[in-house]
């Protein structure tokens, strides 16, 4: 009988600590930038930083980087679905 056990990539303590420090650094950057008035770009920068933080969490903490390809396909598909929903809603809302 073939079973799929223990195929896991072991991640060391070190990389988690590095990612955590990066996440804290990004948090302080986003808080600092929010204090400076950048007009229209404020929201864009805040979302960009949030996207970088999520990429770190998803890839390293959630292990997606080390998983089989199918997990990445799933993730891309659900992200794409959300994107399509956002775009369609805004197209409807703006050109109504």
């Amino acid at each position: 009988m073939q079973s799929k056990e223990n195929h896991n990539h072991q991640t060391g303590f070190g990389i988690y600590i590095v990612v955590w420090l990066a996440l804290l650094a990004l948090t302080s950057i986003t808080v600092t930038i929010a204090g400076i008035s950048l007009g229209k770009y404020t929201l864009f920068i805040a979302l960009l930083i949030a996207a970088i933080k999520s990429a770190l969490v998803i890839n390293i903490f959630m292990h997606i980087k080390f998983e089989e390809k199918i997990f990445k396909v799933f993730l891309a598909l659900s992200g794409f679905t959300l994107l399509v929903i956002f775009i369609l809603t805004f197209v409807d809302f703006i050109y109504r």
Partner: protein, 207 residues
């Protein structure tokens, strides 16, 4: 032949990849649940940019930042708990999960004080004080309570799951060669963190 028979009886079939795949599928339904709310937020923020701006000024950025740091750190401790268990260090793993639970509790306590301050200022869904304000602000606070409320509920569920994992590790039901349950609980916890990563700038950092 009899040896082969024995192993066949004692071998419990497990599919860890399948278990994780199931967890990810569940997480995607969660992403769509919160995604729908972020969509409502996006449309109304687009419609009432100034009202969202004024309303957001009333939220306490310090508490929001503190809760961000708490959740990010709790994500780290959960990840460390899994590595510790993989390395066979049961005690360290349990300690890390315990620390995660303490962080989660700290998050909820902050949330409690944050909400009760707002309540004491008369700002809660349907309050007289709030309903006298312009539509954009009513929507902002409505979304604030629903989204951070649902997120808080997820924190509570995560705490319950992690406590259960702590019990299972203690009972050796989760061990260094069978830890997919802990991994899946970790995934759930990271998702809670992930949602907060977006809630934080969208509610607390509109200056």
């Amino acid at each position: 032949m009899s040896n082969h028979h024995d192993t066949a009886i004692h071998h419990v079939h497990r599919d860890d990849v399948g278990a994780k795949m199931g967890m990810w599928l569940f997480l995607f339904t969660e992403v769509l649940l919160f995604g729908g709310m972020f969509l409502v937020y996006a449309v109304y923020r687009y419609q009432y940019p100034d009202q969202f701006h004024y309303a957001a000024m009333e939220l306490n950025t310090t508490v929001g930042t503190l809760n961000t740091i708490i959740l990010l750190t709790s994500s780290l401790t959960v990840a460390l708990a899994i590595t510790a268990l993989q390395k066979g260090n049961k005690f360290l793993s349990m300690l890390m999960i315990f620390i995660t639970l303490v962080f989660a509790l700290m998050f909820m306590v902050n949330k409690y004080f944050e909400w009760s301050t707002k309540f004491s200022h008369g700002i809660y869904p349907g309050s007289k004080e709030l309903l006298e304000r312009p539509n954009g602000q009513i929507l902002f606070f409505g979304l604030y309570y629903v989204m951070t409320g649902l997120h808080g509920l997820h924190v509570l569920v995560g705490m319950f799951m992690l406590s259960f994992m702590l019990y299972l590790i203690m009972k050796n039901k989760i061990s260094s060669d069978n830890y997919v349950k802990l991994e899946n609980s970790g995934l759930y916890w990271h998702l809670v963190d992930l949602i907060w990563i977006f809630l934080f700038p969208l509610f607390y950092l509109i200056q």
